[in-house]
C-alpha cells in the first residue's frame, strides 16, 4: 500500500538532508510505526507522505501510484492525526468537525454523536474548543482524522498529551481501525505505545532507518531467552527458556523455597533501540 524507496528530503535552508535515503513499505491493514527521538525525521517522513512536502528525491508510491501523480483525490484516501491540537478555538468541537467533513465526498460512516462518544467528548461537543483541555483537543484531532473513513491514517504521536485512560482508549481504537482493514502509519517516541499497537516498527535516527521488524522479533533478537527467578530467601538464579518445564535445576530451585518473582529476560523495545542505534530516546 505504501512503498518508499531511497527517500531523501532536505529542508530548503538546511545544509544536510533530514531524510537520508530511507526505504520501507507498509502493507494494507498493517500498523506501522516510526520510532525515534525528536528531530530524527519521523514527522518529516509523514509530511512527505501526506504531500505537504513535495520536493523529495526517491520513490514514494501509494497503491502502486507515484505520490506525485496523485491529485486532490489522494486526500479522500488519507486521514491525518497531527502531533499537536489544531482547531478553530472559537468554534465548538462539533462545528470544527462538521466544517472539515464538508470537504470530503465520503459521508461520515459514524454520526457526530458516535464520533464524540468514541473519545468521551459527548458532553463537550457543543462547547467552544478554547474551553477544552489539551487532552480533549488531542481526542478531537483523532476523530477528525478518521471521520471520513480513510483507508490510510497517519498519526503523529497519537497518545501525546493524553492521560493513561484516554491513551489506552486511543490505542484500542487504532487496533480496531486495523481490524477494519485500515492501514495505519504512526510516529512516536513512546516505545510502550509502539510495542502495544504496531505490527512492525522502524527505528529512525538522524534521518536513517537502523532496523525494521516486528517488536517481537526485535526483542527476541536483542534480548536473552531466559527467566530470572528470585526466591523468598533472596536467592536469584537465571535459567534458559528452552525446555524450562523439564529443566531439573530450575524445578529443584523453585521447590527449595517460595518463589518471590519470575521475570523473562526479554529486552524492552527501548533497550533494543539503544542497542541498535547507540542512542537513548530523548523526547
Amino acid at each position: 500500500m505504501i512503498e518508499v524507496e531511497n527517500l531523501v528530503f532536505k529542508y530548503p535552508k538546511s545544509v544536510t538532508a533530514t531524510l537520508k535515503g530511507i526505504s520501507f513499505n507498509v502493507e494494507k491493514g498493517e500498523v506501522f510505526g516510526f520510532l525515534g527521538p525528536s528531530g530524527a525525521g519521523k514527522s518529516t517522513a509523514q509530511k512527505v507522505l501526506y504531500k505537504i512536502f513535495n520536493t523529495y528525491e526517491g520513490l514514494a508510491k501509494i497503491d502502486g501510484k507515484n505520490l506525485s501523480d496523485w491529485d486532490n483525490s489522494y486526500f479522500e484516501k488519507i486521514g491525518v492525526g497531527f502531533e499537536l491540537p489544531n482547531h478553530y478555538l472559537k468554534l465548538t468541537g462539533k462545528e470544527n468537525l462538521a466544517l472539515f467533513a464538508t470537504f470530503y465526498k465520503n459521508k461520515p460512516k459514524k454520526s457526530m454523536e458516535e464520533l464524540f462518544g468514541m473519545v468521551d467528548l459527548s458532553d463537550a461537543m457543543n462547547k467552544p474548543v478554547e474551553a477544552y483541555s489539551k487532552g480533549m483537543k488531542m481526542r478531537l484531532n483523532f476523530i477528525r482524522a478518521i471521520q471520513h473513513d480513510p483507508d490510510i491514517i497517519f498519526f503523529d504521536e497519537p497518545t501525546s498529551g493524553l492521560d493513561p485512560v484516554s491513551a489506552h482508549k486511543i490505542k484500542q481504537h487504532i487496533i480496531n481501525l486495523k481490524a477494519a482493514g485500515k492501514t495505519i502509519f504512526i510516529t512516536t517516541h513512546s516505545m510502550a505505545t509502539a510495542d502495544e499497537i504496531c505490527d512492525r516498527v522502524s527505528f529512525i535516527v538522524d534521518g536513517e532507518l537502523r532496523a525494521t521488524d516486528t517488536p517481537k522479533n526485535l526483542k527476541k533478537q536483542y534480548g536473552l531467552e531466559a527467566v530470572n527467578v528470585e526466591l523468598n530467601n533472596g536467592k536469584l538464579h537465571e535459567f534458559p527458556l528452552v525446555n524450562l518445564g523439564v529443566n531439573e535445576k530450575f524445578l529443584a530451585f523453585i521447590k527449595s523455597d517460595g518463589v518471590k518473582r519470575i521475570h523473562t529476560q526479554e529486552a524492552s523495545l527501548e533497550e533494543v533501540f539503544i542497542k541498535v542505534t547507540g542512542k537513548a530516546l530523548k523526547v
Binding site: S73, F75, V80, F82, L84, N86, Y88, L99
Partner: protein, 236 residues
C-alpha cells in the same frame, strides 16, 4: 459552492465570537456617517477643503476595503498560529479553491460597501457603470492585503505590526496629489494609486478607464504572484 458558503459561514461565526473582529464591522458605518453627515458641514465651514472633496471620497473607498482586509488577515493569522492551516493542507480542496473560497464573500461584501458609498456620498454625480468598475477594482485590495500579510507574518504580534504598516501603505498614494504633476505616477508602484487616480478623474468628469485597466491588471498580477508565495508558506 457549498464549500465556499460553509467557509464563509465559519468565518462569520469566528468574527462574531471575537470582540476585536466584531468591532471592525462597525468601521463602514462610521465611514458612511462621516461622509454623509461629517464632511459636508466641515466643507461648509472651511471652504478651502472644497477642492479636496474627491480625496475624501477616495480615502473612504480605500478605507472601506480595510474592514475585511483587517478581519481576513486576523482570521488567517489565527489559523496559522493555531496550526489549523495545516489541516487545509491535507483536505481534498485545492489551494486555489481555498483562496477563492476564503476571499469571494469578503470581496463581494467590500464591493457592495463601495457601491453603496458611491451612491450615498453627497458630493458628486457618479454613474452606475463607473461606480461598479471602481468598486470591483478597488475591492481587490482585500485579497491582496490579506495574502500579503499572511505570506509574511508568523503570529498575531507580527501581524498587528504589518497591518499598521499596510494601512499606511494603501493610503500613501494620497501624496501623489501634493507633488508636481510630472511626478504623481511615481506612486504607481502601489496599486491603490490607480484607484485614487480613477476616483479623481471620475469626479472631474474625465474618463478613468485607463487607470482602472492599469489598476485591475496590476492587482490581478500581484494577487497571482503573492498567492504562489502564500500557498508555499501557509499550509506547512
Amino acid at each position: 459552492m457549498k464549500k465556499i458558503i460553509k467557509l464563509a459561514i465559519v468565518d462569520f461565526k469566528i468574527i462574531f465570537r471575537d470582540n476585536t473582529l466584531k468591532g471592525m464591522l462597525a468601521l463602514p458605518f462610521i465611514l458612511f456617517a462621516l461622509i454623509i453627515w461629517g464632511v459636508p458641514p466641515l466643507v461648509e465651514k472651511y471652504e478651502f477643503l472644497t477642492p479636496y472633496l474627491h480625496l475624501f471620497l477616495a480615502v473612504a473607498v480605500i478605507e472601506n476595503t480595510q474592514t475585511f482586509s483587517f478581519i481576513g488577515s486576523m482570521v488567517l493569522i489565527d489559523e496559522k498560529e493555531t496550526d489549523v492551516a495545516k489541516v487545509y493542507g491535507i483536505v481534498p480542496l485545492s489551494k486555489v479553491a481555498y483562496i477563492f473560497s476564503r476571499f469571494l464573500i469578503p470581496y463581494l461584501f467590500t464591493v457592495a460597501l463601495n457601491i453603496i458609498l458611491f451612491v450615498v456620498q453627497p458630493f458628486f454625480e457618479i454613474g452606475i457603470g463607473v461606480n461598479l468598475l471602481i468598486s470591483f477594482t478597488s475591492s481587490l485590495v482585500v485579497p491582496l492585503y490579506v495574502l500579503s500579510i499572511n505570506s509574511i507574518v508568523k503570529n498575531r504580534m507580527e501581524g498587528m505590526i504589518y497591518i499598521k504598516a499596510f494601512n499606511m501603505l494603501v493610503l500613501l498614494p494620497l501624496a501623489a496629489f501634493f507633488v508636481p504633476e510630472n511626478f504623481k505616477h511615481l506612486f504607481g508602484f502601489i496599486p491603490t494609486h490607480w484607484i485614487f487616480q480613477s476616483v479623481e478623474n471620475t469626479t472631474l468628469g474625465l474618463s478613468s478607464n485607463l487607470f482602472l485597466v492599469i489598476g485591475f491588471v496590476f492587482f490581478v498580477c500581484l494577487i497571482f504572484f503573492i498567492s504562489r508565495i502564500f500557498i508555499k508558506r501557509h499550509f506547512i
